[in-house]
Amino acid sequence: MSNRLDSLNSKKPGTNASKPLLKFKPKVVTRKTQDERAKDAPTQVKEENVDRKPSQRGRGSMRGARGGRGRGNYAGTRLVSSGPLTEGSVSLGMNSTRNTIKREPGTSSSSPTPDFLQNLKVKREESVAKANSDESDSEDDGTKINMNRDYNFEEENVLFPIRPVRENDTSNEESGAESKETSPALVESRSATPMEKSQSPVKEEHIEDQLNKIKEYKAELETKITDSGDKLRKEESEKIESDFKQIVNQINNEFSEISLDETESGTSKDYMVIHLPSILPEFKRSSIVKDEDVKDENMKDEEVSVENLKEEDVKMIDEEPTRTKLAADIPNLRGRIGSLNIHKSGKISINLGNDNNLVVSKAAPANFLQELTLIDMKDTQHGDVEVTENDQKVAGSYYRLGKVNDKFIAIPSFN
C-alpha cells in the first residue's frame, strides 16, 4: 500500500459508481437545560442602558410584546445590544452640511429585557380589561381607529401623517461659515494661474461685442424677412404683368394675321382655348342688331325665328336640339354675351354684363401639338353610304380647323 490517497476513479468492489457514498444524517437538536444555558451565557457583558425605554423596532421585541410564538423563551436569557445598528440616531445625510432627522431623545434601540416584557404583559392585560369595560375610552385613546365608525376630528387634532421633527443643524451654518472662510483661500489658490485674471475683463468686452453683433444680425434678418415678402409680391406682380402682356401680344398678333377681304372681314387661322367657369350667368335674348348688309343669305332664315323669339322674350336655352353621340351635354348658347376688356394697367377682364366680371390669366403652356377639329357624322339612314378602299364605310367627315396655340383661364373677380 502506498501512502498516496486513493484515486477518485478507483472502484472498490461492491460499490456502484452512480450512487454517491454520502449519507444524510439528520442532526437532532436537543434543548439545553437551564444550568447549561446559564453556563453558556456571557456573564462579562453588563447591561448599560437599563434605564432606557425599550424600542418599538425589531422583530424580537414585537414578537415578545405581542406574546407570539416565542413567548416565555426569553426567560432566563439576557439580550446583548452591540454593533453599529444599535445606535440611537439615524443619519440620512452624508455629512454635517445636510439636515438630519433625529429620533426623539430618550429612545434607544436596545432589545427589551424580560422585566420589560413582563411589565408590558401586565399593561396589556390592563388595557384589554379597560376596553371591555368602556369602548369609548379605547376609542379616545387615539392609538386605535375603528374603521366602521365615522370620526369627527377637530381641525387641530391631526392624527397622521406624523412628520419627524426636522431640525436645522447648527453645524451646517458653522460649516457654511467655515466654507466661506475657506473660499478665499481657494480663490487665492486658483488665482495662482495668471491667465484667468488677465482674460476676465477681455471676455466681458467680447460678450458685449457679440451681443451687438447678434443684434445687428437680427436687424438684418428682420429686414430680409420684410424684403423677401416684398420680393415675392414683386415677383408675383411682375409675373402677372408679363402674363397680361403676353396675352395682349397674342391677341394683337392673331388680329394682325387676319387677312381681310373686300368687306374688311376675316378670321384668324389659329385658335386659342379659353377656360370659363362651367356655369355662366343666366342669359336672355334682348335685341337683334339690324345690319342686313353684313348678313348672309343663310342668316335671314334665322333672323325671322329670332324676331319671333324676341316677342316672346324667351330664354336662350329653350329647346335643346338633338345632339350627336360624340357631343357633350352643354347648354346651347348663342349671341353676344359681353366683352373682352384690355385695361390701362395691362389687365385683361371679361365683362359678362350686370357687373359680372372675370379676370383673364394665362394657363400652363402645352408643349405638344393641339388641333381643333369638327366631326360631322353623316345621317347614314337617308344618305348614300360611301365605302373606302379597305371596305370601310365612311361614317362622317373630320374637319381639321386649325392649330390651338395657347390657353387662357378666366376666373370670377372677387373685387
Binding site: 377656360h275 350627336t324 357633350a328 352643354i330 405638344f368 381643333l372 373630320y398
Partner: protein
C-alpha cells in the same frame, strides 16, 4: 409753457391748413381714380356660338401627345377612323421612312411600317372649355367662343407589333379558336351581370363595366372618316359659319355678381 403751446398750436394750424388746401384737388382725383381705377383701353366683343349643325356635328380638341408643338401636319395625308359607340378615334399619320427608319428590322419582321397609328378616347367635357376664334367683321374686332365637346389625347398604338405576332402565331390560331369562344362567353356574362346591377339601382361592378366596354369596343367595327385638310374649302366654310353665325344676337343677364358667385360656390 405759453411758448410751447403757441408753437404746438401753430404747427397744427399750419398742417391743417395745408392739408385742406392741398387735398381739395387730390381728394377728387382719388375719387376719380377709385371710380376709374383702371380704365379700359380696348374692348372686344365676346360672342358665344355653336357648331352649325349640332345634331350631327361636334367640336373636339385633339392633342397629339407625342408630337411637339412645332410639328406641322398640314401637308400630311392623314387617314382616320372612328368607333362612334365606343367614343374611340384612330388617326394614321404617314411615317417619314427616309429618316430614323431601320430597313433591316422591317425586313426581319417582314412588315413594312409606313404609318403611325395614333389612338385615343373622346373625353367629354362638362362645359367651360371654349375654342376662341378671332374675327374682324366690317372693321370691328370680336372674339367668338365655341364650346368644345371633348378633349382627345391620341398616342401611338404600335398595332403593327400585334399584327406581326398575329402572323407568327397564325398556325396556332385554329386550335386557339375554341378557347377564344369560351372567353367571349365569359365576357358576355360579366357584361350582363353589370347591366343587371345598374338596372336594379345598386352600384355597378367596375370590372364588369370595363369588360362590357372592352366587349363593346371589340364588337364594334371601325368606320372611316373623310379627313378634310385645314386649307380645304369645306374647312374654310365651316370656320366662317362658326365665326359669323351669332354676332347679331345680343344676350343680357339679370344675374348679379353676388348671385353668380353663390351659384358657383354652391354647385
Amino acid at each position: 409753457m405759453s411758448d410751447r403751446n403757441e408753437l404746438f398750436v401753430d404747427e397744427e394750424e399750419n398742417l391743417d391748413s395745408g392739408m385742406v388746401s392741398d387735398d381739395t384737388g387730390s381728394f377728387h382725383e382719388a375719387n376719380e381714380e377709385l371710380l376709374d381705377d383702371d380704365p379700359i383701353v380696348e374692348s372686344i366683343s365676346l360672342v358665344m356660338n355653336q357648331v352649325p349643325h349640332p345634331s350631327t356635328q361636334s367640336l373636339h380638341l385633339i392633342q397629339y401627345v407625342g408630337k411637339p408643338k412645332t410639328t406641322s401636319l398640314d401637308d400630311q395625308n392623314i387617314s382616320g377612323s372612328i368607333k362612334e359607340e365606343s367614343n374611340y378615334l384612330e388617326l394614321n399619320v404617314p411615317l417619314d421612312t427616309s429618316r430614323f427608319y431601320d430597313e433591316t428590322r422591317a425586313e426581319e419582321w417582314e412588315a413594312q411600317v409606313t404609318e403611325n397609328s395614333l389612338r385615343g378616347v373622346f373625353d367629354k367635357t362638362s362645359g367651360g372649355l371654349y375654342a376662341a376664334h378671332f374675327v374682324i367683321s366690317n372693321g370691328t374686332k370680336k372674339m367668338v367662343l365655341v364650346p368644345i365637346d371633348s378633349t382627345t389625347q391620341i398616342r401611338s398604338s404600335f398595332k403593327y407589333l400585334d399584327e406581326i405576332d398575329m402572323k407568327k402565331n397564325s398556325s396556332t390560331v385554329n386550335w386557339m379558336e375554341p378557347t377564344k369562344q369560351s372567353k367571349m362567353h365569359i365576357l358576355q356574362t360579366s357584361g350582363k351581370n353589370a347591366q343587371s346591377n345598374t338596372s336594379d339601382g345598386s352600384t355597378s361592378h367596375a370590372l364588369g363595366d370595363t369588360l362590357k366596354h372592352v366587349k363593346k369596343f371589340e364588337e364594334e367595327d371601325w368606320s372611316a372618316l373623310r379627313i378634310v385638310e385645314p386649307n380645304h374649302a369645306d374647312s374654310e366654310q365651316v370656320r366662317r359659319e362658326i365665326a359669323n353665325n351669332a354676332d347679331d344676337l345680343i344676350l343680357e343677364t339679370e344675374t348679379r355678381m353676388d348671385e353668380y358667385l353663390d351659384t358657383l360656390i354652391n354647385t
